[in-house]
Amino acid sequence: MSMIEVADLKKIYLLGNVEVAALREVSLSIQKGEFVGIMGPSGSGKSTLLHQLGLLDTPTGGHILIDGTDVAQLDDEARTRFRLLHLGYVFQDYALVSELTVMENVAIPAIMQGKPLAECYVAATRVLEKVGLGKRLDHLVFELSGGEQQRVSIARALVNTPSIVFADEPCANLDTENSRTVLELFRAVNCELGQTIVMVSHEPWHMEYFDRIIFIRDGVIDEKRIEREG
C-alpha cells in the first residue's frame, strides 16, 4: 500500500532571471512502513525532494499524494495542520527551540494538538525514555551534546506518532558512533511502530539501514531496490 505517490514533480528555482531546475518530473512511490534512503551527490536535489514531500516547500508542478491526500489541494492552514498530525521531521542541525527544555521541545507538537499538558508531558517522557534521554528531561537543549540533541529532535518527530518521518541528513553533524545510534533508533522505530521513514543521506555506510534507496542525480531519479538481510 502506497504511503507516498509522486508524479511528475518539478521544482524550479529562480536565481535572478535564470531558472534552475532542482527536480525534473520526478515520479516515485513509497510504501507504508518502508525505511527509504534518498542519496545522491551534493546539489543533486535530494533535500529539495524531501522538502517537497514533507510540505516544507511548494513544488512548481506535479502531484504528491500522501496517504491518499492530494497535498497540492491543501491551503496554507491545512498544510500546517497536515504537517502537525501526519508528519514528523528531523533536521541536520537538530532545529530545537533553545528556550524550551528537552521535554518541552518534544511535547510542543502534542500540545499543539490540544491534548492536556500533563498528557503531553507523559507522552514526551515516554518517547524520550525510548531514545535514551529519560534523565535529561529538564535540561535546556544547549546543555546536551550534538548526538543527544539529535535524539531530542527524533523524539519530537515521533511524539505525535506521525505516519511518516522525514529526516534531512540527521547524521551530518554527528560522529560515527552517534550516527549509528541515530540510525539504529530509526530502524527500531520503523520495525516496532511501522512508521514510514524517508531519510536523506550521502554516507554510503548508511545504506545498510535502508529498505530501499532512491538515488537522485541532477534532479532525476535512478531507483535501485535494496533487500534487507534476514
Partner: protein, 405 residues
C-alpha cells in the same frame, strides 16, 4: 492547560518560556526604554499640571477665594455689603468671607519721587485671614491690623528695587518697611502712609498690588457698607461650583462666580497653550515609542527567525507564533509602564522635596492620572501594532527561508 487544537494557550506557553529563558539584558533594556518613553510622555504633563495648579492656587489664595461675589449688572458696588457678609458667614460650608473695596490711586515713593498708578484694595484684616493667605506671605514687616490707619501693605514687585534693572515691572524704586508713600485718591484726597509690611506671593499681578484697611478707605472714600467684591472661601477648590449654587440658593442676587470662572480669559488661554504643548509632546513621545518598540521587536524577531521557521515546520500555526510575540511585547510594555510609573513617582517625590522655582513660584509636579491612563492605553496599542507588524512579516516568510535564519 487545555488547548483546543493550537489555541492561544500555546502562544502563552511559548511566550512565558521565551520571557523566562530569553536574553535578560535585552528584556531589561526594552523595559527600560519603554519606561523612559512613559516618563517622556508624562513628565511635561506633570510640570504643566504643576504650573496650572500653582496658578489656580494663586488665584484662590490671593485673588478670588473659592467663590467671588460681584456687584449686580449695571451697579458699581455691592450695597449693604456688611449684611451680606454676615449672611454669607452663616451659610454651611463657608469657612471665610472678606469684602474688598477697590479704587484707583496713584502711589508715590516720597524718597525718590517715583510713582505708579494702581488699584488700591481695602479689606478687614481679620476677615481677610479667613479668605486669603496674604498674612502668610509677609516677607518684611507686619500684616495689617483691624484698627490700622495711615498704614499700607505693599507687594514686593510694586515695592521694587533701588536698582531698576532688577525690577520685573515698573515699581516704586525700592520701598522698605517704615518708608513713607503718598497715595492720591480719585476724589482728590492725598494722604501719606507708612509701609507696614511687604508681601511676596510670586504671582506677578498679586505682588504689584497694595492694601489698606477698610476703616482707612472708608474714612477717605466714604465707602462704608459697600464692597466692589466679596471673596468667599469654602472647603475645597473642587467644591466651588456646589458652593456657588448654595450661595445662590440663599437668595444672593449679586453675580456669583467660582474661581475657575473668574480665571478664564488670559489664564484660560495660557492653560490651553500649555495643554497644546503637552499634547504635542505626547504625540512626539508616541512616535518615538512606536519606532523604538518596532525596532526592538523587529531585532528580537529577526534574531529568532530560525526558531519561527522551526515552529512553522513542526506544524505550529502562524497566529499562534504571532500571538506568542504579542504576549511578549505586551509583557515588556506592561513592565515598562510599571517601571515608568515608579520613575514618575520618584521624580515627583524628588521634585516635591526639592521644589523647582519657576518665575511664578515653586512648582510641585502633579501626576495627571487621566493623562497617565491615556498614555498607558496608547503605549499598549502602539506596542502591539509595532510588535505585530514585524512578527507577521517574519511568519509569512517561506519555512525554509526562515529556517536558514
Amino acid at each position: 492547560m487545555e488547548n483546543n487544537h493550537g489555541g492561544y494557550g500555546v502562544s502563552l506557553y511559548l511566550a512565558v518560556r521565551a520571557i523566562r529563558r530569553g536574553n535578560r539584558s535585552t528584556l531589561a533594556l526594552t523595559i527600560l526604554i519603554i519606561a523612559l518613553v512613559m516618563v517622556l510622555m508624562n513628565f511635561m504633563g506633570m510640570i504643566i499640571s504643576g504650573v496650572v495648579t500653582l496658578y489656580n492656587d494663586q488665584m484662590i489664595n490671593y485673588q478670588y477665594g473659592h467663590v467671588a461675589i460681584e456687584p449686580r449688572d449695571k451697579e458699581i458696588v455691592i450695597a449693604d455689603a456688611d449684611a451680606l457678609v454676615k449672611r454669607l458667614k452663616q451659610i454651611p460650608g463657608i469657612i471665610g468671607v472678606s469684602a474688598h473695596t477697590g479704587t484707583a490711586v496713584t502711589i508715590t515713593n516720597i524718597k525718590t519721587g517715583k510713582f505708579q498708578s494702581k488699584s488700591l484694595t481695602a479689606f478687614n484684616p481679620e476677615d481677610e485671614q479667613s479668605a486669603t493667605k496674604y498674612q502668610m506671605v509677609i516677607t518684611d514687616g507686619d500684616y495689617l491690623s483691624k484698627g490700622d490707619t495711615g498704614q499700607i501693605l505693599i507687594g514686593t514687585l510694586l515695592a521694587g528695587n533701588e536698582d531698576e534693572s532688577q525690577d520685573k515691572m515698573p515699581s516704586l524704586g525700592g520701598i522698605k518697611v517704615g518708608d513713607r508713600v503718598e497715595v492720591a485718591y480719585s476724589n482728590g484726597v492725598v494722604k501719606t502712609y507708612r509701609v507696614k509690611g511687604i508681601y511676596e506671593s510670586l504671582g506677578v499681578l498679586i505682588d504689584s498690588s497694595a492694601f489698606v484697611t477698610r476703616n482707612e478707605m472708608d474714612s477717605i472714600m466714604h465707602s462704608e457698607d459697600t464692597a466692589t467684591e466679596i471673596l468667599v472661601r469654602g472647603a475645597s477648590a473642587d467644591d466651588a461650583p456646589a458652593l456657588k449654587y448654595t450661595i445662590m440658593s440663599y437668595g444672593v442676587e449679586e453675580k456669583v462666580k467660582t474661581w475657575n470662572e473668574k480665571g478664564k480669559g488670559i489664564m484660560g488661554d495660557a492653560i490651553s497653550s500649555f495643554n497644546l504643548i503637552k499634547n504635542i509632546m505626547t504625540f512626539v513621545s508616541l512616535i518615538v515609542a512606536s519606532v523604538v518598540v518596532f525596532i526592538v521587536t523587529y531585532i528580537n524577531i529577526i534574531n529568532r527567525k530560525k526558531q519561527i521557521g522551526i515552529l512553522k515546520a513542526i506544524g505550529i500555526r502562524k497566529q499562534i507564533i504571532v500571538g506568542s510575540y504579542l504576549i511578549q511585547v505586551l509583557f515588556q510594555c506592561v513592565c515598562g509602564i510599571l517601571v515608568g510609573i515608579l520613575m514618575l513617582n520618584a521624580i515627583s517625590f524628588v521634585l516635591t522635596v526639592n521644589k523647582l522655582r519657576f518665575p511664578m513660584g515653586y512648582i510641585t509636579p502633579v501626576v495627571d492620572y487621566s493623562n497617565l491612563a491615556v498614555s498607558i492605553v496608547l503605549l499598549c496599542i502602539v506596542s502591539l501594532v509595532s510588535g505585530y507588524i514585524p512578527a507577521r512579516q517574519v511568519v509569512n516568510e517561506e519555512i525554509l527561508d526562515a529556517m536558514r535564519g
